[in-house]
Amino acid sequence: MARTEEHVAAGLLDAGEREEMERTWRGQPGFWGWLTATDHKSVAKRYILTTFLFFLLGGLEALTLRLQLARPENGLLDPDQYNQFFTMHGTTMMFLFGVPVQLAMAIYLVPLMVGTRNISFPRLNAFGYWVYLIGGLLLYSGFALNTGPDAGWFNYVPLSGPQYSPGKRIDVWAQTVTFTEIAALVAAVELIVTILKQRAPGMSLNRLPLYVWSILVTCFVILFAMPSVALASLMLAFDRLVGTHFFNPAEGGDPLLWQHLFWFFGHPEVYIMFIPATGFVSEIIPVFARRKMFGHTALVLALVATGFMSFGLWVHHMFTTGIPQLGQSFFTAASLMIAIPNGVQVFCWIATLWAGRPRLDTPLLFVLGFIVLFTLGGITGVMVASVPFDQQAHDTHFIVAHLHYVQIGAFVFPLFGAFYYWFPKITGRMLSEALGKWNFWLFFTGVNVTFFPLHFLGLMGMTRRVYTYLPETGWGPLNLVATVGAFMIAASILVFLVNVFRSLRGGAPAGDDPWGAHTLEWGTSSPPPSYNFLHIPVVQGLYALWERTADRPVVAGMGTRRREILLTTVMDAEPDARYAHPGPSIAPLLAALAVGVTFIGGIFTPWAFVVGPLLLFPALLVWMATQDEQPGPPTPAEEPA
């Protein structure tokens, strides 16, 4: 590679060092190596793949729902099956795809983008993935065994309580949420630490890329929002399994407590999915408009403001519950005001495109589609933030239309743009532009054909979560149109899958930097080596690769016989310490299995809370005991000067 040879020529390393680095940082071979991997890229790739599989499953559930609703009085699904399908669709998309895919992308990209070798807590990272996988498997095993949840992804009590949802279905839901929360919290913590303490020297906070800012804000939102749903699902599990009365009004409990706890999490949850998507957009636009982003500071402030304000909106999901006028007014005001930072972002992006020289490659097409769909979804959002209007639109298909425009438009579209943008980096191969354009146009058209009619259906009285409707309502034609659109979306996803498979088999090799981008990950090979950068780069400007000087300064003197990470200071990223990361281990998987036994077993017997921790303890022992093992000792030349 060019850079290695340059470094060799400059006398920074001898050729044997690269082999030494590879030996130090590589994982263990074979299937065992796959189970014990702690390389953030390895964990992230399987994480992304797993979330995408859940996306496909959620999409199949959606197709089934739409087939059922295509005609009045259709008999494809009976009410019980329909309830399970729409609950699975929502739970899968929100808990198993929405948040995890954003975290998975961040786990892959953030260490590369900040110029470090691995994520801050590699074994914890692996543990987080395994716990997430167990949660997903729990949910789908339940679904396959007629024990899938059926009270909606939001699971309102008393319907989901012990009396009206007998059996284990809701307990499966509650524990799935527990597992995905743990995984999200784990990822949030390690991403925050990576961003604050492991940045390459010279990457002071004002030189942090916008995507990294978006992840930093998102992770703080996760830290404060996830505990709310953890508490709610715990209280529900207690009501169902232990006999408490948290939500039982007859004994002093309150069904509204569930709603408050759930939506205090639920509203930030959609911002957890949305904020990283704006980060993707802020990375793609400068590269494809070939101009630095206009309004960098405003964009950072908008991200932070969005993060804060997202906690002040949750009651807008409860406008019809009879809350007092003052509360309604406050949450209307907050819900309208969050449009201001979002507007700042959109206007800055449009300004950058105007001032730049856009090239309409697939990543930018998805960004443009995002802006259009997000604007439409944001406008219906302003509409439903208005209480009187929401009192008509709430729990109708108007909301279904709104939420899908913002979810698909503002989250999935940037995600696909990110897939097309970073696929070459992750795999070393380019995706086909022709197929990419088919993907985009089918998807964009399909979304509009599916969801635009739903606005009208909602205003015409079609409520949500209904397994059928009578012919006299006149809802048939628009529903049929929506079902056709759903199949267009499915076709576009198929095109994407074909694109991916063909590229993996024989796509054009990508090279280090096919797009002419500016963030650090484009300064290493595609795919990156296990140690990310042979030498940690020194960052000289906000647009690291565009603003570096010809001599391309790097950090010298890091050890190659130990897994050394450079820690830097929080504000100015000056070198602070060297830290040796732990290596691959089976302990995270064992610990995750123990956690799985605890919580899954807990659905059936309280003894699981004894057995599980007993299994966890040895796993943690192995984890801690092998933490400091390194492939080799520090050599005298590597001692700090």
């Binding site: 319907l159 070939r290 006028q325 020289r357 009192q391 729990d395 109708t396 009208f456 409520t463 979560r465």
Partner: protein, 330 residues
Amino acid sequence: MRAAAAGTALLLAGCGRELSSVNPAGPQAERISDLTWYLTATGTAVFLAVTGFLLYAVWRGRRRAESAAGPAAERTLTRWVAGSVAATVVILLATLVYNFYVGRSLADFAEPGALTVRVTGHQWWWEVQYQDPVYSRRLTTANEIHVPVGRRIRLEVQSADVIHSFWAPNLHGKLDLIPGYGGTTYFRADRPGVYHGRCAEFCGLQHAKMDFLVIADPPERFAAWYDQQLRAAAPPADSVQQKGQQVFLGKGCVMCHTIRGTPANSRVGPDLTHLASRRTLAAGSLPNTRGHLAGWVVDPQKIKPGARMPPNQLASDELHALLGYLQSLK
């Protein structure tokens, strides 16, 4: 957007239809409908503006030889972005103020002495009780609410089991029925008509088929209806109806239903005293005809799987008699 043209046509077709949020029959729904049109118009304008700017920006950018950088470009962009943000703030503030005004006028619709109707939500039907100050004039019925035109109605809602939501879009926004809470709202129907309503909070297996009717009559017709409903059930007029009443009292019907004037007095299911005067059966799922009634009585699980009413195996002569009796309950 391509569906916008088709959809607009369909929407306009929906304007004359019942069960529509934009076809108000009373002042509450009308204020909300006006707000809806304002929001739609403003929103459409904003959407067209933003999309227009976006498309123009891309078109303009692709015509450049090199990017517009430097202080002059920054100043221009700053002016445009700041202006757009300012416009956003203004539009949002205006919307907020209009919202406060509408919310206030909706809430100020209370009136002492309004006709009070208490609706209790069950899985999956609506119990309706008119709260007359004279206790003997309290009427209990199910799934169909008659109101006099032009008079304010006070609606009190409560739930017997899970969360439901009372929604008659032509009259008012929805109000949730939450166990442990009592909700209250006011509405008025300004023209006679039959207004459909639905349950609007997922409440289990038959949430989809939990409809009701609000029928607004001129005041005299309403009073006549009310007096008729207060009467006990007419005694059987002939031997077929007599036998039908015996079937009703001898089988499982009496375990759940009330027919005032007979020993049947259970409150588990809807009150059937004046069943034949209603337009629909099974919470709006079926028209009230002999054939549909027969199908419902014999096998409700076929029409509403999961409903609390069990199948009833009846001999054909028993069924014939029962239907005759039930259809006499006007």
